[in-house]
């Protein structure tokens, strides 16, 4: 696939620059590290280096052109074995998965620390940033130690120089290593132990290379070689005026959410199944059941079922009715469960918890309802025990109370699906050839394609819909 050469940004704030000089002509062979052109701003002159090999097929912006906007296509390189004239004519389709090809090439790239800043803009532009810029995520080879992959953490990792070097050499992700040195510092023996246990291999290039084959590739993940560092603090701050924002430090929950869900989107190939469920029967049953609840001496009912309680129960039963979907991905195998564990997202101030209702298939609606009330109260007080929010096969995330009609949710690892539940609202639908007003709730199941294929996911969704629309089935 031809490679687009885009106008690079020399600093996070640069918007345009001058193309001072082309150092290669059309038809020249280029290899990684070759200087293609010189770019000027009012502050500096920088070189544009090639990362990939090929032939410079076409120069689109002649030298001496002033004020070339950042990310404009300035040249096209025909990759090895490609027809130069064809590449020159067509160019690479914008937003093609250029990035996916990067991980292999990147380690070969020569370090060019000055390119750091320019990476910011490049990486934010899908399909852009091909030449000499994405490399910033890779540590300069042989320079300061400390370039070990740190995929799992955003913060600084404290590790001895030797530990860092061994981690880098052995491909151990320092972010996943427990330090045993003073103040939790990671020392060499921790890295060796982690390596021996094999539990903390940094996501390696092969994984990234496989990504494009998956149904829904995540181009960003692949582009970053499985270890996306994203923009640095300074790069992000560079985009905004200093007095435009206040800085909010990250607490542990925010870090965990960021880490886990980023990982989920990169690792688990998501696809989405949306279905409308009619609620009239369920609303009626709910009213009857709530009305029949025994009352204590203060007149307080023993339970008060919510729609969400029915959703939890329905997911629990649906999972046991479609046993193949009651499973999670475990790297080299699939774990299939007997009972259904259904997590329920509970929004709290500054984040969310997902306590898990165990055996949701077996529990009565009133048990689930009361358990949820307890979970929600304790989640808000941050009093949940880890074992109460760990595990689960699926989760339910309900934004109906905000009037949200439809949304998709990110799977919470290691679970294999998550149900995004919208508001129950009166809609006009066609029934028996005539318009009718019914209460409808739109639900979208995000599925991990490694575990659930489309048909299997659809089977699960359809079982769920059946239970919601015929809720008496949940009572027996």
């Amino acid at each position: 696939m031809p490679i687009n050469v885009l106008m690079p940004a020399l600093s996070p704030t640069m918007e345009k620059g001058n193309l001072a000089k082309w150092l290669k002509k059309e038809g020249d062979a280029v290899k990684s590290g070759d200087v293609l052109a010189e770019i000027e701003t009012d502050k500096a002159t920088m070189e544009v280096e090639a990362i990939d090999e090929g032939v410079l097929a076409k120069i689109l912006v002649p030298e001496g052109t002033a004020d070339v906007p950042v990310n404009d296509l300035i040249a096209i390189i025909a990759a090895e074995g490609e027809d130069v004239s064809e590449a020159a004519a067509g160019g690479a389709p914008k937003a093609a998965s250029n990035g996916a090809a990067k991980p292999g090439a990147k380690p070969d790239a020569k370090p060019e620390p000055k390119a750091d800043a320019s990476a910011a803009n490049q990486n934010t532009t899908p399909g852009g940033g091909h030449m000499g810029y994405e490399r910033v995520n890779a540590a300069p080879e042989g320079a300061q130690p400390g370039g070990a992959p740190q995929a799992s953490t955003g913060g600084r990792v404290f590790a001895s120089p030797l530990a860092r070097r061994i981690a880098k050499q052995e491909g151990v992700d320092l972010g996943a290593v427990q330090g045993s040195g003073p103040h939790g510092r990671i020392i060499a023996r921790d890295v060796q132990a982690a390596k021996a246990s094999g539990a903390t291999q940094a996501p390696a290039a092969p994984q990234a290379a496989e990504a494009p084959k998956a149904a829904t590739p995540a181009p960003k993940a692949a582009a970053a070689g499985g270890a996306p560092a994203g923009l640095t603090t300074d790069q992000v701050k560079g985009f905004y005026a200093k007095d435009a924002y206040e800085e909010v430090p990250l607490d542990g929950m925010r870090k965990t959410i960021a880490k886990r869900l980023t990982e989920a989107m990169q690792v688990a190939p998501h696809f989405y199944l949306t279905v409308d469920c009619e609620l009239d029967a369920l609303m009626k049953l709910r009213e009857t059941l709530n009305g029949s609840a025994a009352k204590d001496k203060d007149g307080k009912p023993a339970f008060k079922l919510s729609v969400n309680d029915f959703v939890i129960k329905a997911m629990g039963l649906a999972l046991t009715r479609v046993p193949a979907a009651n499973a999670v991905w475990a790297e080299d195998r699939i774990l299939r469960f007997k009972h259904a564990e259904v997590g329920v997202a509970v929004a709290i101030d500054g984040g969310l918890f997902t306590p898990v209702i165990r055996r949701a298939d077996e529990k009565t609606l009133s048990t689930i309802s009361n358990e949820m009330k307890d979970f929600a109260a304790r989640a808000r007080a941050k009093k949940l025990k880890p074992e109460e929010y760990q595990g689960g096969v699926t989760s339910v995330s309900n934004l109906g109370m905000f009037g949200i009609k439809h949304f998709t949710a990110v799977i919470n690892p290691p679970q294999s699906s998550i149900l995004a539940v919208g508001a129950g609202e009166k809609r006009v639908v066609v029934k028996d050839g005539a318009p009718a007003v019914v209460q409808v709730m739109t639900c979208t199941l995000s599925c991990d394609h490694r575990v659930l294929d489309g048909a299997l996911g659809a089977e699960l969704v359809s079982a769920f819909k059946g239970l919601i629309e015929n809720p008496m089935g949940m009572l027996v």
Binding site: S160, P161, L162, A163, I166, Q169, S180, A188
Partner: protein, 479 residues
């Protein structure tokens, strides 16, 4: 009488008293038992008094070479009794200091011979019986003989000179370090059996003071634990000073005369020779003091004279611990101290790790001094490392030249793969004060990068440490 302690330590050597102070800091009710001297061999008959003797020898040597520095020193002489008196005075002062430290930390000192009757079982504390000793008078305020109870008993009884059958020390003609430290007169000739740190230090001292010295070493190399290249350089210097060195040689027989000994020495080639000297110093190592303290009775696991521990001081008998020389080599004061602290912090429940013995430095205070840490080049290769070796000679260092000490070498051994500093080996002036720079680097797990990026002050001998690292990576400046 019976007192119950949290921790009772047998032996007030460097391992024992340091452990006692740390125990007190951690809030333990602590006692330490000794039969002879606070501070142990190290402070009374080892490390410290020999440094005092060697300092006298060093200054004497400088006086003899005053002319080299443009100075005049005439009628240079020495007074053996005064040299010994100074050395004893240094020990005495520090010995008193240990007593004060223990008192300040509210550690009870118990005077006498201790034997463990039982280790703690369940809620029952262990018991130690202390009997009177005639070896030395009890320091002021010490408790006496009796039975004492303790939840945790730490054995820190140290070591004593090893004796070779047929060549047993007699305090007269065949000396150990005890006698060698307090000579009444300087012997005119001396035979030193063993070329470890003790043997070589005495050889160096007595040679400087004018004695004809012969060193006999069984192994093919003097200073057998040191790097071969460093030991070889040291040997050349010793021989230049007039010390006669026989390696791969064994003393097979010693005949005592009226005021001399005649040793039969068998060389590696099978040839024998006889050497007569006024005194013979037996410096063939030390053995742990594991006898008569009740260990056998309790079933404490012992392997080749060493109490077996788990690296955190715990023996196979719960409630009973061992640190220092009795717990195995290297039999060095600083190892004992560190091991003691690890042991007591483990008892306290703090997060501890066994000591990494590859990072324990060793120093020998002969002229020239020897200092080392970690693996020798040969050991590193033996363990399968591909190594990068750096060397820097004293002759390339400005400060060394200015000091008039142009002989010596600093050698570094790196793992070529990871850049880990595996070992450092030095011979030359003041190297015993330099080595800890590398020890810190090793403990911080520095690679060659950090060492190269460290700024060493100029002009110092320490610059050679930098240059040695640079040399290992082909970046040395001053050679």
């Amino acid at each position: 009488m019976s007192d119950t302690y949290d921790v009772l330590i047998i032996g007030a050597g460097p391992g024992g008293y340091v452990t006692a102070i740390r125990a007190a800091q951690l809030g333990f009710k602590t006692a330490v038992v000794d039969r002879e001297h606070l501070g142990g061999i190290c402070l009374n008959w080892g490390c410290i008094p020999t440094k005092a003797l060697l300092r006298s020898a060093e200054i004497y040597h400088y006086f003899q070479h005053a002319g080299d520095y443009g100075l005049t020193a005439e009628k240079v002489g020495f007074d053996t009794a005064a040299i010994v008196k100074r050395s004893r005075g240094v020990s005495g002062r520090l010995n008193g200091g240990v007593g004060m430290l223990l008192k300040k930390n509210k550690v009870d000192v118990i005077w006498g011979e201790a034997a463990v009757d039982s280790a703690a079982q369940g809620n029952q504390p262990g018991q130690v019986t202390v009997t009177e000793t005639k070896r030395a008078e009890a320091p002021k305020g010490a408790k006496g003989a009796g039975t004492y109870k303790a939840k945790h008993i730490i054995v820190a009884t140290g070591a004593r000179p090893r004796a070779i059958p047929g060549i047993e020390p007699d305090k007269n003609l065949i000396w150990t370090y005890y006698e060698a430290m307090v000579p009444e007169t300087m012997p005119k000739s001396l035979l030193v059996m063993g070329s470890g740190a003790i043997g070589i230090e005495f050889a160096s001292f007595y040679r400087t003071m004018g004695a004809e010295v012969t060193v006999v070493e069984l192994l093919p190399q003097i200073l057998p634990v040191e790097d071969a290249e460093i030991a070889g350089l040291a040997r050349k210097r010793f021989e230049k000073q007039g010390i006669k060195i026989l390696t791969g040689a064994k003393v097979t027989k010693v005949e005592k005369g009226a005021d001399s000994v005649t040793a039969t020495i068998e060389g590696g080639d099978g040839k024998t020779q006889q050497i007569t000297a006024e005194k013979l110093i037996s410096a063939v190592g030390v053995v742990g003091n594991i006898e008569n303290i009740g260990l056998e009775k309790l079933g404490v696991k012992i392997d080749r004279g060493i109490v077996v521990t788990d690296g955190l001081g715990r023996t196979n008998v719960p409630g009973l611990y061992a640190i220092g020389d009795v717990a195995g080599p290297p039999m060095l004061a600083h190892k004992a101290e560190h091991e003691g602290v690890i042991c007591i912090e483990t008892i306290k429940g703090l997060h501890t790790h066994p000591m990494d013995k590859a990072k324990i430095p060793g120093c020998t205070y002969c002229q020239p001094q020897i200092a080392s840490v970690g693996l020798t080049e040969a050991k590193a290769k033996e363990q399968g490392f591909a190594v990068k070796v750096g060397r820097f000679p004293f002759a390339g260092n400005g400060k060394a030249i200015a000091l008039g000490e142009p002989d010596g070498l600093i050698k570094t051994v790196f793992d070529a793969k990871t850049g880990q500093l595996l070992g450092a080996h030095m011979v030359g002036a003041e190297v015993t004060e330099l080595i800890q720079g590398y020890v810190v680097a090793m403990n911080l797990e520095s690679t060659e990068e950090e060492l190269m990026h460290t700024v060493f002050p100029h002009p110092t001998l320490s610059e050679m440490m930098h240059e040695s690292v640079l040399d290992a990576y082909g970046k040395v400046i001053h050679t």
